[in-house]
């Protein structure tokens, strides 16, 4: 039956060839092989970066199992956020020629020649949690304006649109602080019944806010709210130390602060907002879309993490003590957010669901 077998084979070959010639182009465009992914992180020394890496490792392992990516690796540069260490690390990664390179950079400019080299090699480069002026790189980031808007509006709403507030400011003069301060001023101007009775410099840090508040608290009238950027824990403790009612505050969504809040500290309506450690995951799925040839804007904005009063207890269950809360991005959620970016409706886009662990 040698001839029969040969015929059979010939038919298969012919069919395959036909099939290939008609549809291979469209298939190749829609579905390239699952890409390999490398994440380069400049620094592992704080809770935010550790939460970012944990979130990424969980999501990447799942994406690999689901066949969305073929392999992944995380590389943290040694040292204290050193650009040169990260350059060395990136160049070593380039030798492995990943299809996708995700970068949480040590600095917005110093990696440019190295990342340009990656682009030249045909690697999809996505920078997250930072800006970069490198044209070939895509950017996935949270907007500081959104952060300020969400935390300020929550405090204003909680005090019913009127009362005394203190404004806590971050690192004055730094680009994020300038952006956040402008949004705070705009929202305060829109609510003339909210009176600013004091201003402190908290560096968005709980301990510094506590110190700054304790030194001025005696001179302050009744305070209904503290408008700030995540120093709520220290602010509440300062008011408690002085024996006064705790105001509405903006916490940092760390496990510790959320627990403190959950124990009934901080006036009702308080909020916790911070830039999202899940950005690495958002960057991963955005990069996969770019790799598969979809049209994606160069800069994609994702929402910061927001923990509201009613969802607080669900979050406490999902966030470890040393962790920062993060959105659990999936491919579908990222696709929806990208669509919102394309449509220019980022501010109205739905927030992801509270993660479950």
């Amino acid at each position: 039956m040698g001839i029969g077998k040969f015929k059979c084979l010939a038919v298969i070959v012919a069919l395959t060839a036909m099939f290939a010639s008609t549809s291979s182009d469209t298939i190749a465009k829609e579905m390239k092989d699952a890409p390999s992914v490398a994440l380069s992180n400049a620094f592992l020394g704080n809770a935010w970066r550790r939460s970012m890496i944990t979130a990424f490792e969980e999501a990447a392992a799942k994406a690999e199992k689901d066949g969305i990516i073929s392999s992944w690796k995380v590389s943290n540069a040694p040292g204290e956020n050193s650009a040169t260490e990260q350059i060395a690390q990136l160049k070593a990664l380039l030798l492995e020629k990943p299809d996708i390179l995700l970068v949480n950079p040590a600095s917005a400019t110093t990696l440019n020649p190295t990342l340009q080299k990656a682009c030249d090699m045909g690697i999809v480069v996505v920078v997250f949690d930072s800006a970069t002026d490198l044209e070939c790189a895509y950017i996935v980031t949270n907007s500081f304006g959104d952060w300020a808007r969400l935390s300020t509006q929550a405090v204003i709403d909680a005090i019913g649109g009127k009362g005394n507030v203190i404004v806590a400011r971050g690192v004055q003069g730094s680009p994020p602080e300038i952006e956040m301060s402008a949004v705070q001023k705009k929202l305060l101007a829109a609510n003339p019944d909210v009176k600013v009775v004091g201003e402190i410099v908290s560096f968005c840090d709980s301990a510094k806010a506590q110190e700054a508040l304790l030194s001025t608290i005696a001179s302050l009238p009744k305070v209904d709210g503290v408008i700030g950027c995540g120093e709520g824990l220290g602010a509440v403790q300062a008011f408690q130390t002085a024996g006064r009612d705790a105001p509405v505050v903006a916490f940092a969504p760390s496990g510790r602060a959320l627990k403190f809040w959950g124990e009934g500290n901080g006036a009702p309506g308080s909020v916790a907002v911070m830039s999202d450690p899940g950005q690495g995951v958002a960057a991963l799925f955005t990069a996969v879309n770019i790799y598969q040839g979809k049209k994606i804007p160069r800069v994609t904005i994702f929402p910061p993490v927001v923990v509201s009063d009613d969802e607080r207890d669900k979050w406490i269950a999902a966030v470890g003590d040393d962790e920062i809360a993060s959105w659990q991005w999936t491919k579908e959620l990222v696709d929806a957010q990208i669509q919102a970016n394309i449509d220019g409706k980022v501010a109205d886009a739905a927030l992801p669901p509270v993660p479950v662990r």
Partner: protein, 323 residues
């Protein structure tokens, strides 16, 4: 001599040479092992472009370590070299490209400033640790003044340098490092000035009695450190494509480690250019190795520290064997 065996060969060497060369040899062995492991995991490094990729981030560190080595050979320690190199990148990215003459004057001025720092240390008997720590804030201030936020543009010739692919497939970074080391070797080991540097570190009294000005020697040594610092800064700005005064504060301690790994001493009197080169390359390759090894995120810094400690401990053992 007809005795053989490792112990005998060790003692057959002049003791001083053995003391100077063995620590560097040990580091060299570590470097070769790291290179071989990297090469096994990622064979792409054995090509001109591969070696260029992994060696180019090390060039500035190697030349900066040469500067620290000269400083340590006279018995001083430089706590400002990291910010000095950062300030030079700021000068290169802000002045050298647009107004080359002012840029060159600024670089020359930095070298002069280093010489004055040497004079301060010598005349006022300020410990070099204090003087250089103070100077580091001056470098930081000048750097921030010239380039308040990182960025700027490097001159075109520097841009061409990083694209350079020398003939015979020799990686450009290796050529730069070897030339810088050879020059440092010549100055510190083959010239009268170099001998003075080392005697200033080991026996300043004798040096003074032989009629050499300690002030002039220290100023010359500091100027040499300044020149090497400038070269390091220029190569670094090529690597980062601009300037950033805060680019490498970590170099201050890394360069000291490189000198110690290369056989240098805190007490001065010993110039080890080739050893320092090997030490700097070893430290630089550690990052590459850790990237290839794919270790868990939490383990990477610990492993890096362990390797450095292991090499330093090996040096102690070797020192003891020689004595």
């Amino acid at each position: 001599m007809n005795v053989t065996g490792p112990a005998q060969t060790l003692s057959a060497l002049p003791k001083g040479l053995a003391l100077r060369a063995l620590p560097a040899l040990l580091t060299l062995v570590a470097m070769v092992i790291i290179l071989i492991i990297c090469g096994i995991i990622q064979p792409h490094i054995w090509s001109q472009s591969g070696l260029t990729l992994i060696m180019s981030p090390i060039v500035a560190l190697a030349i900066g370590s040469m500067a620290q080595m000269v400083m340590m050979s006279i018995g001083d320690i430089d706590l400002s070299i990291g910010f000095f190199i950062g300030m030079i990148t700021a000068m290169v990215a802000s002045l050298l490209g647009e107004t080359p003459i002012i840029g060159i004057l600024a670089l020359a001025g930095s070298v002069l400033a280093y010489a004055f720092l040497g004079a301060l240390v010598q005349l006022r008997s300020v410990p070099s640790l204090i003087a250089t720590l103070g100077a580091s804030f001056i470098w930081l201030g000048v750097g921030l003044f010239l380039l308040p936020s990182p960025g700027g543009r490097v001159p075109n010739w520097l841009f061409n340098y990083i694209q350079w692919e020398p003939p015979l497939s020799i990686p450009a970074p290796i050529i730069t490092m070897i030339i810088a080391t050879a020059i440092t070797w010549f100055v510190t080991k083959r010239t009268k000035v170099g001998v003075h540097f080392r005697s200033l570190g080991s026996n300043p009294v004798a040096l003074e009695r032989s009629g050499v000005s300690l002030l002039k020697t220290r100023m010359l040594a500091y100027a040499t450190v300044g020149i090497l610092g400038v070269l390091s800064g220029i190569t670094l700005s090529a690597e980062i494509g601009g300037g950033d005064v805060n680019a490498v504060p970590g170099y201050t301690l890394t360069t000291i480690t490189a000198v110690i790994l290369g056989g240098g001493m805190f007490t001065g009197g010993r110039a080890v250019p080739w050893g320092t080169l090997v030490g700097a390359v070893t430290l630089g390759l550690l990052t590459v190795l850790l990237t290839f090894l794919n270790l868990s995120s939490n383990l990477q810094p610990a492993v890096q520290g362990l390797i450095v400690i292991a090499v330093l401990a090996g040096r102690l053992v070797v020192d003891r064997m020689v004595r």
